[in-house]
């Protein structure tokens, strides 16, 4: 049965996401699409409630958070260009012993069908009821494939070179049990029960084909909690994401997504530039669970924190002046003759033009898993970045940060994953179909 969905443009979502740019919004008006049960209900009653058999008259069309809807089908998968949501789950699965290409294809077909239904505000096959009463709440579900997926399915020759393991970084303290995985699922929604509902549906549908490997939960600012269309803030109190590429940038598509007709040479079989054809419209996700060492960080004065970042904490503006998006003046000296933005400031070292123009689209969640058992908070960033090629995106930036970032003493990378995220499924198709049926 459909759940309530009423017409509303979703263009007013989180400003940190680039989807509010003209031309790239994936949102749509639900309008009549959600009204299949209308004939059963009272006038003015949202479709879902009528279908649920309720005669309750105090229903109304969804006009806010619940009504926002992302679309499953398209050139790219959802959850990349959509505004960041207030609630997120990341899960990795490994194919079960004995499961191969056939089982993986059936699983991705099941998962894709469920993702489509849930994102439209409909129920899944054996629904738990947890999302009843709620609208889609901007739910997105995104699927990725890890390096190990290709050997398990006999598809090594199709494995993108871009999935070659990330280099080791000296500051890594990686927990293997919470890293990597054959399959990766990203869930985002602006309602905690809607997100949990999707998580349980996908877990159950893994069935005997795949076993859970790891699971993480995160959050972002709620829509409407802030008045200013401002970049997100992280648990260190810092504005985070100021220099994210924008869909209006001329090279945005080529930096973030694999082209529609990739060179077809970038596989394990024939290394070379680009990505294999089955990755057309896809992207690569680097996932890092970055613990923030908040106790020492919060002992710094605001001035000390700002020297580490190179930006003002209040509004993210560079220490050399202006607003959040003003270019930092990296040469500017203070009255004492030293650089205003210190030589090891995070904002200096992570700048794209300091890294050969490397660009990645960061779309993270914060996380907070209580205390670490020693009294310190187990909290930080579920860093997720998107790029057409990790070797040009994440790797050069992280190499620089690893060597000389003033922020390094306050963060610790505790888990890591790299996933090929195929292009969006066609109507009637499923994510990964071009690979698995290619």
């Amino acid at each position: 049965m459909p759940r309530p969905g009423a017409s509303r443009s979703g263009g007013t979502g989180d400003p940190a996401g680039p989807a509010s740019q003209p031309g790239v919004t994936r949102r749509r008006l639900l309008g009549t699409a959600g009204a299949t049960g209308l004939a059963l209900g009272a006038v003015g009653t949202a479709a879902g409630y009528a279908a649920a058999g309720s005669g309750d008259p105090d229903t109304a069309p969804l006009t806010s958070v619940g009504a926002e809807t992302a679309v499953f089908h398209g050139k790219h998968q959802p959850g990349i260009l959509d505004p960041m949501q207030s609630r997120g789950h990341l899960m990795a699965f490994d194919l079960a012993p004995g499961a191969g290409r056939k089982e993986a294809a059936a699983l991705l077909r099941r998962w894709s069908a469920t993702a489509e239904r849930l994102m439209a505000g409909e129920s899944s096959a054996s629904d738990t009821g947890v999302a009843l009463d709620a609208g889609p709440s901007a739910l997105t579900v995104t699927f990725g494939l890890g390096h190990s997926f290709f050997a398990r399915t006999g598809l090594e020759k199709q494995r993108p070179v871009a999935l070659d393991p990330l280099p080791d970084f000296s500051s890594d303290r990686l927990d293997k049990a919470r890293s990597d995985g054959d399959l990766w699922v990203q869930i985002g929604a602006n309602d905690g029960l809607v997100a949990f509902h999707a998580l349980r549906a996908l877990q159950k549908e893994a069935g005997s084909a795949a076993r859970p490997r790891w699971e993480m939960t995160g959050f972002n600012r709620s829509p409407g909690a802030t008045a200013r269309p401002m970049t997100a803030r992280n648990l260190m109190g810092q504005v985070d994401g100021t220099r994210n590429p924008k869909p209006s940038d001329p090279d945005f598509q080529q930096r973030i997504f694999v082209p529609d007709e990739p060179s077809g040479t970038g596989t394990a079989e024939v290394p070379g530039g680009g990505s294999p054809r089955w990755m057309a419209g896809g992207s690569y996700a680097v996932v890092r669970r970055i613990r923030m060492l908040l106790d020492p960080w919060e002992k710094l004065s605001v001035t000390e924190q700002e020297a580490v970042m190179g930006r003002h904490r209040s509004d993210g503006s560079p220490l050399t002046g202006g607003g959040e998006t003003t270019e930092p003046d990296l040469e500017k000296l203070g009255p004492d003759g030293t650089l205003v933005i210190p030589i090891d400031a995070h904002a200096r070292i992570s700048r794209p033009d300091q890294n050969g123009g490397a660009a990645m689209l960061r779309r993270p969640f914060s996380y907070h898993d209580g205390s670490d058992g020693k009294g310190a908070p187990d909290a930080g960033l579920l860093f997720i970045c998107w790029q057409a090629d990790p070797v040009r995106g994440f790797v050069p930036v992280q190499r620089k940060l690893d060597r000389g970032d003033a922020l390094s003493p306050f963060v610790r990378h505790e888990a890591s994953g790299l996933f090929a995220v195929p292009g969006g499924a066609e109507r009637g198709g499923y994510v990964g179909q071009a690979l698995l049926e290619g």
Copy 2:
């Protein structure tokens, strides 16, 4: 510096909370109260941004989630009658060795001052900046005192009899490390960063006076995610809280709150009815971390689940018909001659009129802490109920449920706490002052 707050009535919050009833709303218009920095800012710029030194013109008054504000001072503490928020943290602390009455009083004074500031959308003493840009987002902070608090502070004679340990229940599987505690803090907000910001501020201000004992994080439906003003739904997919007492009930105040002039005899020194005088306007909170065994639960058909509950899953209506708030017909027989609402149905056994009129106000959060390491979800309910006397509220209901509830095989009580929650602080005063300076 103040954070942005603009005028809006908060009366449209979560319908499961009783605060939308006339006469009991604790919300207020922030209006000019939040505008102390206005002279510094551009016309039309929200106060907080101006005070933060930003010249950014694209600011606007908060008109939605962020603007909602609960008040700290009053007859009762916040977080009891306020609408349920989408995000919650529960924390318990133990007083540090050597800390006694004096340190406890200083701590509750510090905490109360910070709670007041943060709930008004202002910064705390050494602010982390995490809530910058956000409005108060309906933040509430509530403080409670556990049984052990009174011996630690030399105040045994003032200890309410109502804090005597709860009886053991046969279905309890309690983890002592996550139960009880000298001090209890409940945080709720409609934004995850605002809630986390408050948690960190209060943890830091515990200083050397108190050490964290346990910490739990929960969530509820986001405001606006559902169109119907409906009772909350839990992670079993069930409507939960239908029979909550309402502020309009004639006996609401006396069932939930200690009277303004209690008998003064209900202490450890002089047992008797009622509560001690220092608890005037207070309430008792029973906190239970109730794990839901979702794997077996979700294997039941909807019909089987409905027989366990005695209510329809779709809308919470009794199996004997009507809407969510219709009285169940407990005598009604089906065509096969058996009770339509089974003899052990949860809705039958938990009914107040089956328990001597016991009434408690339930105001829970759901929780989901990933997997339990054996592949099952570590998820369920952070059950919190409020009553003037736990022996008339929680205890008789739980005793009945413990014996014969059809729901019992699907839930497991894993942690428990019982806390005396004093009345609200007076302006210039702090929570617990009547006890600690009495």
